[in-house]
């Protein structure tokens, strides 16, 4: 209708209950993509929601995966105050609500975690925080609890240690206040639920070792930033043809893995591919990896994702 405008809603009732929700100190966060959503059904019980969060850490597609970060030690609140305008007659009014800008230092995970977080710089990644009351704090969008849309996620360079301070590693979130004020979404877990049980994945690095005679490849595997040799713990578990994936790098087509066996001489595995497979490149590059985090977990290799090993056939 022409010339019709809408007045702002006239407030809300201000009666208070015996208890109320006050966010506590932020101890960690879960980074999620825009499509990640917690529904009412997901909050049927703590166990249901915890299982959803844990399963989300195993998602094959990183865009759908949940990346947990724990162990925040403090917060530097660099939020911008509401901007004000002063009129000539003396009246002062707020022109905006400012923005939140929180910076959290951490030690656990060290440079390794910092490097991983830096890879999210510039990405549309969103946090769901959790506080010291075991409460998830996010954005209520419709009937869902979602990650908070950010103006910027930034994991800056580390700062050098001094006589008075350890190496500085921080992660910073900048976002519009509306997402955790008018549109605040939260879920309170029982006090005995441990957020630490939602664990992030560690990378498995594969590398060739020993004599290679195509289509038979000798491969070793190590995990995490400390390169823990996986053969010690998972030699027989990973000696399973169904847990290995080979692709023709040029075409992306799968190549049949015909056999896998432990090779005690190299503390690794012998992986044999089907050289008669039409997708096997006699000359070219093969992408070898372990299967998805979910299938690895089902096999007993919990909390890992395999990186791709490029094998060049010449």
């Amino acid at each position: 209708m022409i010339n019709q405008f809408t007045c702002a809603a006239f407030g809300a009732n201000t009666g208070t209950d015996e208890c109320s929700f006050d966010p506590g100190k932020i101890l960690g966060f879960f980074l999620v993509g825009p499509s990640f959503a917690i529904s009412e059904a997901d909050t049927a019980s703590d166990e249901t929601l915890l299982a959803k969060l844990q399963l989300a850490t195993l998602e094959t597609l990183k865009a759908n995966r949940l990346f947990p970060v724990h162990g925040l030690l403090d917060v530097a609140d660099n939020s911008a105050e509401a901007a004000q305008q002063t009129f000539g007659y003396g009246a002062v009014v707020n022109t905006n609500n400012g923005t939140y800008n929180w910076s959290f230092p951490f030690i656990k995970g060290g440079i390794c975690l910092l490097k991983a977080l830096q890879q999210f710089n510039g990405a549309d990644i969103r946090p769901i925080f959790y506080d010291d009351n075991n409460t998830l704090i996010g954005w209520k969008s419709g009937a869902f609890l979602k990650g908070i849309p950010l103006i910027q996620f930034f994991a800056p360079k580390w700062n050098i240690a001094t006589g008075a301070a350890v190496t500085g590693k921080n992660v910073t979130f900048s976002f519009d206040p509306k997402y955790i004020n008018q549109q605040l979404g939260f879920y309170k877990f029982a006090d005995d639920v441990s957020m630490d049980s939602v664990e992030g994945l560690r990378n498995i690095k594969l590398y060739q070792s020993g004599v290679q005679a195509k289509p038979v490849y000798k491969v070793k595997a190590s995990a995490g930033c400390s390169n823990v040799d996986l053969h010690t713990q998972y030699s027989s578990v990973l000696a399973a043809a169904g847990l290995w994936v080979a692709k023709n790098k040029a075409t992306g087509a799968l190549i049949t893995v015909t056999s896998v066996a432990v090779d005690a001489n190299i503390s690794g595995w012998t992986v044999t591919l089907d050289s008669a497979d039409a997708d096997y490149p006699a000359v070219g590059t093969i992408e070898l990896s372990l299967t998805t985090p979910t299938l690895l977990k089902a096999a007993g290799v919990v909390g890992y994702e395999s990186l791709i090993l490029n094998i060049v056939n010449v």
Binding site: V216, A239, A240, A241, G242, T256, V257, T258, S259, V260, A261, V262, A264, T270, T272, D274
Partner: protein, 51 residues
């Protein structure tokens, strides 16, 4: 003493091969393994030989 080697074979792939093809494929890879036995364990005996 080292445990006997027990390779994991892709069963679906093995079922597409004859015993000779299977043995020939792996005889140099796993010389210490009784490949004929492995093949039979995966493919089983033909129906006519069962009972």
């Amino acid at each position: 003493m080292r445990e006997p080697l027990k390779p994991s074979f892709n069963k679906e792939w093995v079922k597409t091969k004859t015993e000779k093809e299977f043995v020939d494929t792996f005889k140099d890879v796993y010389p210490e393994v009784d490949l004929s036995k492995s093949y039979k364990e995966i493919v089983g005996k033909p129906e006519t030989e069962k009972k």
